[in-house]
């Protein structure tokens, strides 16, 4: 491996020895592709003509106030319905470049599964998606979308039957299949080079948003706010602002039914250092190191680990992390629909909810929110919850 994949004391490549050659091949392909003008041109073309980049930056007309302006980075408008498509197109191209014929992926809410399925269809690669059986049940529309695009969805019945177990199963598949298979990990977690690579493929969101806000406001935002499950949409929008000292970076974790209990997914706020899915990071776990089950109203945030770079940004104090409970997220979800005519994903509603809290102070502020996905997938669940 050319790099150790460390973010401070976090990161690394904690995988069975058998997988090391697969990670080394991927790291080499990624670094080569980054320097390859042809690769970058093809990716740029796909992002523009297929996925719909750049996505707009929308100023809320009714939420916020004259003084506190709320801007939404509209990843909900990206093809596939969420930011996941950005990096999946890039990894799909990498898979082709490495000569792989098969894609595997894990998915929680199903958004990464949908993105991988569309890449599989687009690039003509056989695609298998591992999804916790519990998530299959609560995200049935996304399961159908994946199958419609030709992917096979495998319900994972081990453990908590959610995202964590789907990652375990995808890793197991990959240890036997890496010769012809690329594992498209869906977030900035997992072993090196995934956290670095996924960040680089997702930072286009922050790059665009930074240019867009400078154009409309003539200055940088006071805060950039994003929800954090594994953390790819947050890292993606944070990265180009990390060097801007005056810009506060705020990650919003799923506080579920409350941070005082165990039914949440607030890994950074309530977790401790540990090693899961190939990386040293922060985890929700018991005193023996058994990883505990997380909870969130949103399947995409229901993960007891977090990308190692978030653990690092927290450690060095560059980003701040807060919690948003299920009910507050649901309230924000409804409010955005009523006031702005935008139906966002439950995940993104967590970020919006925190922004609305900040906006109550009515200070002269610009708040930039990553609206990471649209809410179509959450319609059935929302209808039940709002009865």
């Amino acid at each position: 491996m050319r790099q150790s994949g460390r973010f401070g004391k976090f990161g690394g490549a904690f995988v069975p020895e058998i997988l090391v050659p697969a990670l080394e091949q991927l790291e080499a392909a990624f670094f080569d592709a980054q320097r390859d003008a042809g690769f970058n041109a093809e990716l740029q073309n796909l992002l523009t003509t297929y996925a719909g980049r750049p996505t707009p930056l929308t100023k809320c007309r009714n939420l916020g106030s004259e003084r506190t302006r709320i801007y939404l980075k509209r990843e909900d408008l990206l093809h596939g319905g969420a930011h996941k498509t950005n990096q999946v197109l890039a990894q799909g191209l990498l898979a082709k470049r490495m000569g792989k014929t098969r894609l595997i992926a894990e998915t929680g809410a199903g958004q990464h599964g949908v993105a991988t399925a569309l890449a599989g269809a687009l690039f003509g690669l056989e695609t298998k998606i591992y999804m916790g059986a519990h998530d299959v049940a609560r995200q049935s529309l996304n399961v159908f979308r994946m199958e419609l695009m030709g992917a096979e969805v495998i319900p994972v019945t081990s453990g908590s039957q959610t995202l964590k177990d789907a990652v375990n199963e995808a890793l197991r598949d990959w240890t036997a299949s890496f010769a012809d298979t690329h594992y498209i990990l869906g977030t900035v977690a997992g072993p090196h080079p995934f956290p670095l690579m996924v960040r680089e493929f997702q930072r286009v969101m922050g790059k665009e948003a930074r240019e867009q806000i400078l154009e409309v406001e003539g200055r940088l935002p006071d805060a950039v706010i994003a929800c954090v499950g594994g953390g790819s949409n947050a890292i993606g929008i944070f990265t180009d602002f990390v060097g801007d000292e005056g810009v506060e970076l705020i990650g919003v974790e799923p506080a579920g039914k409350g941070l005082s209990g165990h039914e949440h997914g607030a890994t950074i706020l309530r977790g401790s250092p540990g090693i899961l899915h190939g990386a040293s990071t922060l985890l929700l776990q018991d005193s023996d190191g058994q990883v505990t089950e997380s909870w969130s109203i949103s399947a995409g945030l229901d993960y007891p680990g977090v990308g190692p770079e978030h653990a690092y940004l927290k450690d060095i104090g560059r980003a701040r992390y807060v919690g948003c409970e299920d009910q507050a997220a649901l309230d924000a979800f409804v409010l955005l629909a009523r006031k702005e005519g935008i139906v966002c994903a439950f995940e993104s509603a967590h970020a919006l909810s925190h922004a609305l809290e900040l906006a109550k102070a009515d200070e002269d502020k610009i708040l930039l929110i990553n609206l990471s996905g649209r809410g179509d997938k959450d319609m059935l669940q929302a209808r039940e919850l709002l009865k």
Partner: protein, 263 residues
């Protein structure tokens, strides 16, 4: 001399390869687990490998995953695992005992303390399934401080520079993987290990012991012919754990497998 070195020397004189039996500690409950460990020793296992159950065992196939789930559901704690090892050690003073587990359990307890507790219980070696050669350096230091052998995994796709790292950092034996993938029972064994064994020998790595998919006496015989110092059978033993008369069945299976280790 370490228990592994003594064992390999003794077996070489008898012209036999080592047979290692694997069980998950606390599976399905503490008492039965202790009886099964005894059955392995009584059946003639030369070395015993014990898993300490982890919630997210990414290197394990369905059989050993299920064993971890059963043990954790029965309330298995890391402290219990060390207590079980201490009991086994008291009954069988000479047999090498190795731990197979995952890095997070070490980190949660503190790696140095985990290794010291393992040693105090009577453990000879530790293999951490998700610590590859890339990450092994600090673990080798902790193991050395605790006077434990750090056992590492080598596969047919492991590059020469990694084999050199394994040779430098590991001791006891080298856990060679019989095929790509996770642990589990297989009908046929892939045996394309000549170059791996040669590479390990050239690097000066500890003796090669083959695991992953060793489930019949035929597998054992084929492995022995290929030049291994030993074999480890895991899933094939663990799948007997939930059967009726499991203790007798495990002892009989181990005896049958051990009988196939003659060169």
């Amino acid at each position: 001399m370490s228990r592994y070195a003594e064992m390999f020397q003794r077996l070489a004189q008898r012209n036999e390869a080592a047979f290692g039996a694997f069980l998950m500690l606390g599976d399905p409950d503490p008492l039965t687990s202790a009886a099964h460990l005894d059955a392995c020793a009584n059946g003639g296992a030369d070395m015993i490998e014990v898993g300490i159950p982890f919630s997210d065992p990414i290197a394990d196939g369905p059989v050993i995953q299920a064993a971890s789930v059963r043990a954790l559901a029965a309330g298995a704690r890391v402290d219990d695992a060390f207590a079980r090892i201490a009991e086994l050690r008291a009954k069988h003073p000479a047999i090498p005992i190795g731990i197979l587990t995952y890095a997070n359990l070490l980190m949660a307890r503190g790696e140095a303390r985990f290794m010291a507790d393992a040693k105090a219980a009577g453990t000879d070696s530790i293999l951490i399934a998700d610590v590859p050669s890339l990450e092994a350096e600090p673990y080798a230091k902790w193991a050395k401080e605790a006077d434990l052998d750090l056992v590492m995994i080598a596969a047919t796709n492991t590059a020469p520079d990694k084999l050199a790292t394994i040779a430098r950092l590991s001791s006891g034996y080298t856990y060679c993987v019989a095929r790509a993938g996770v642990t589990g029972v297989r009908d046929a064994l892939e045996l394309d290990h000549a170059s791996l064994f040669a590479g390990l020998a050239e690097a000066g790595a500890p003796p090669p012991v083959l695991g992953f998919g060793i489930s019949t006496p035929e597998h054992v015989r084929a492995a022995v012919v290929s030049g291994v110092a030993g074999v480890i059978s895991g899933s094939a033993i663990v799948r007997l754990v939930t059967e009726e008369d499991s203790t007798a069945k495990i002892e009989a299976f181990v005896r049958e497998m051990k009988a196939a280790t003659a060169r």
